[in-house]
């Protein structure tokens, strides 16, 4: 992910990429070969000695995030932390505390929240078009794990978990953004291929009373990219959120939408990204994510994708693992 962010920071008209930091200094030639022109430093200290960045993107393995953030905040830099923010809830809270004490702007890398249709769905819900929201069903599937896997990404202590922490967390973030703070989690997880959980079924209850089910797995065939979907039922109708469109069925006209079926397609939403760095995975959401963070830094207003919102996601992740281990419901603190 570091290289994707690096390219966007280099190409975005409002940002300048001034440094990379990685212990593996052998990476310098690889970065340069991709056209990434910023110098690679072996430590934050070395980078700070020669550059004065306004913001830092933390794209290291998840288990290092807290240490990196602590080291980064020896000077006030705005923080973008890749998802999941931490391997534990305690670390995520500590990261948010550090950022808050430093008085910096902050964001988490839940990129799907920046897709135009996701933002449009949130607007529909926030405008009360469905009336009182009652329940939802959601899925997040990808074809990734069908046998033993190696590397830090498949070790719970390094990655924070399996499909829940690393794939479904995108959808958990969206659910939190749509419905607010989490209140209770009941979950079951299963490892059938790797050393972390490969699938999970989750019942979520939010403090506003909305309840719903999430089914997730990275061991289903048929989808090379994350396939997610969300169906929300309200007293006034149903919203179905897909990758490129929203289907809205209303019992009566509301919010400018007609009774019956309405479609909001991505092609009808504002096109406000200037570059697509990854057409098949994330698309223009990466560019929009960066623009959102830039605006936050410029206006000194925390973005919707802040570490505060990401802490809600982390509470859901933590609740899922705790509930699955204990077999009991878990109430958010």
């Amino acid at each position: 992910m570091g290289m994707v962010h690096g390219h966007l920071l280099q190409i975005h008209p409002e940002t300048e990429l001034v440094a990379f930091v990685d212990r593996d200094t052998g990476l310098a030639a690889h970065l340069a070969s991709q056209g990434l022109r910023a110098k690679l430093y072996p430590s934050l200290e070395a980078a700070y000695g020669e550059t004065a960045p306004d913001a830092l993107f933390v794209c290291t393995p998840t288990h290092t995030h807290l240490a990196v953030v602590r080291a980064a905040l020896v000077r006030p830099v705005h923080l973008f932390v890749e998802k999941p923010v931490a391997t534990t809830l305690a670390d995520a809270e500590a990261i948010l505390d550090l950022a808050t004490q430093a008085g910096v702007m902050h964001a988490a890398g839940y990129v799907y929240g920046h897709l135009p249709v996701v933002a449009a769905a949130r607007e529909v819900l926030a405008a009360g078009v469905l009336g009182e929201v009652l329940r939802f069903t959601a899925h997040a599937y990808v074809s990734e794990v069908f046998g033993e896997k190696r590397g830090w990404f498949f070790q719970k202590e390094l990655a924070g978990g399996g499909v829940v922490a690393n794939m479904a967390s995108h959808l958990l973030f969206i659910l939190g953004w749509f419905f607010g703070p989490i209140r209770r989690v009941v979950a079951s997880t299963r490892s059938h291929a790797s050393a972390v959980e490969d699938s999970a079924q989750v019942l979520l209850t939010f403090t506003n009373g909305v309840t719903g089910l999430l089914d997730t797995s990275w061991s289903v065939p048929g989808t090379q990219m994350l396939d997610y979907g969300l169906t929300v039922d309200g007293r006034g109708g149903t919203l179905v959120l897909g990758r490129d469109r929203i289907l809205l069925h209303l019992l009566s006209a509301a919010g400018g939408y007609e009774a019956g079926w309405n479609e909001i397609h991505a092609s009808s939403l504002p096109a406000d990204a200037a570059f697509d760095v990854s057409p098949h995975i994330g698309g223009e959401a990466f560019y929009r994510q960066l623009t959102t963070f830039v605006r936050a830094c410029q206006t000194r207003t925390q973005p919707f994708s802040s570490l505060t919102e990401a802490l809600n996601t982390q509470r859901m992740i933590d609740g899922i693992y705790t509930s699955a281990a204990s077999g009991q419901p878990v109430d958010a603190a």
Binding site: M3, V4, H7, L8, Q10, I11, G26, L27, A29, H30, S33, Q34, G35, L36, H139, Y141, S143, E144, G147, K149, G151, F153, P221, G222, T223, Q224, M225, D227, G229, G242, R243, D244, R245, H265, A266, S267, S268, A271, A273, A274, F275, D276, V277, S278, P279, H280, I281, G283, E284
Partner: protein, 285 residues
């Protein structure tokens, strides 16, 4: 107007629902179904197929090219398969698995070609690595009549962001050695024109989104259309239906109005045009 059918592993597409995904993937995992789709496209006027190739698509195209005179434009490497292999097998393992698919003659050619780039490969040079993987996949396409070579968009957009014309010009050089030419498939054609400058002329086909809604046209519809109008014969329109929001006939009329060289139809567009228009009537020539 030239019509081009776009094929890629069905698992790498987005669908309206999980059920639609399962049905489509199950169907297009069968070479005979891919063959039938190609035949529908042929009846509609398609004479070129641009494809990210996996075993199913390769097998289908091998038999289809025996049956029909169609050109295949290969998009290499199959990045999703490569990324999957990277996580499972590591860089060396991913390269090795591709190498082992080659014929002994292709293995020799690939080895000789890689010898000159050993230093760069050891330094994890992006251009050298990308071209090596592309070379191996290209060498594995034995039997197919490939007339044009493209880099996978996931590589293309990174190279364009990094301002790396070398990756493209080197691909064009390698393609020329094989008696074919190279093209570019991108969501960022304006950036491509900036990065490549006069070298854009080395690429007779640039595939980029073009539709009346500006969907997926980066940095914007006006800038893209200005570029298209400056050299319309070079550009092939992709995303013509704007994700299914525009009827195929209207979409192709828009492309025709801009005078572009052709249009790329995805699986859904072909199926819809075939069902709606009937044999040979749906798409303007």
């Amino acid at each position: 107007m030239n019509l081009v059918l776009e094929l890629r592993p069905p698992e790498s597409r987005f669908y309206g629902s999980w059920r639609e995904r399962l049905e489509t993937v199950a169907k297009l995992r069968r070479p005979d179904e891919v063959h039938a789709l190609c035949e529908q496209a042929y009846i509609l006027g398609v004479r070129t197929i641009v494809a990210v190739l996996d075993d199913t698509i390769r097998e289908a195209l091998l038999t289809f090219q025996r049956w029909r005179d169609v050109a295949v434009w290969a998009v290499v490497p199959n990045m999703f398969a490569f990324i999957r292999d990277l996580t499972d097998l590591g860089m060396v393992g991913a390269a090795r698995s591709r190498f082992l698919r080659l014929t002994p003659a292709a293995m020799t050619r690939t080895t000789l070609g890689a010898l000159g780039a050993l230093g760069a490969i050891r330094r994890r040079d992006f251009v050298a690595g990308a071209l090596l993987v592309a070379d191996m996949e290209m060498a594995a396409l034995r039997g197919l009549r490939v007339t044009r070579l493209f880099l996978h968009p996931q590589l293309t957009e990174i190279a364009l962001a990094g301002g790396l014309p070398t990756l493209f010009t080197e691909l064009a050089t390698r393609a020329a050695r094989q008696g074919i030419d190279a093209g570019i498939v991108t969501h960022n054609p304006v950036r491509a024109a900036t990065v490549l400058g006069a070298d854009l002329a080395r690429f007779p086909a640039v595939i980029a989104p073009c539709n009346p809604l500006g969907y997926k046209m980066f940095p914007g519809r006006d800038a893209c259309e200005a570029l298209f109008r400056s050299d319309p014969g070079r550009f092939f329109a992709d995303e013509v239906t704007a994700g299914g929001s525009v009827a195929v006939e209207k979409a192709l009329g828009h492309v025709q109005g801009l005078g572009l060289a052709g249009a790329v139809l995805d699986v859904r567009a072909v199926e819809r045009a075939y069902q709606v228009g009937g044999v040979g009537t749906a798409i303007p020539a």
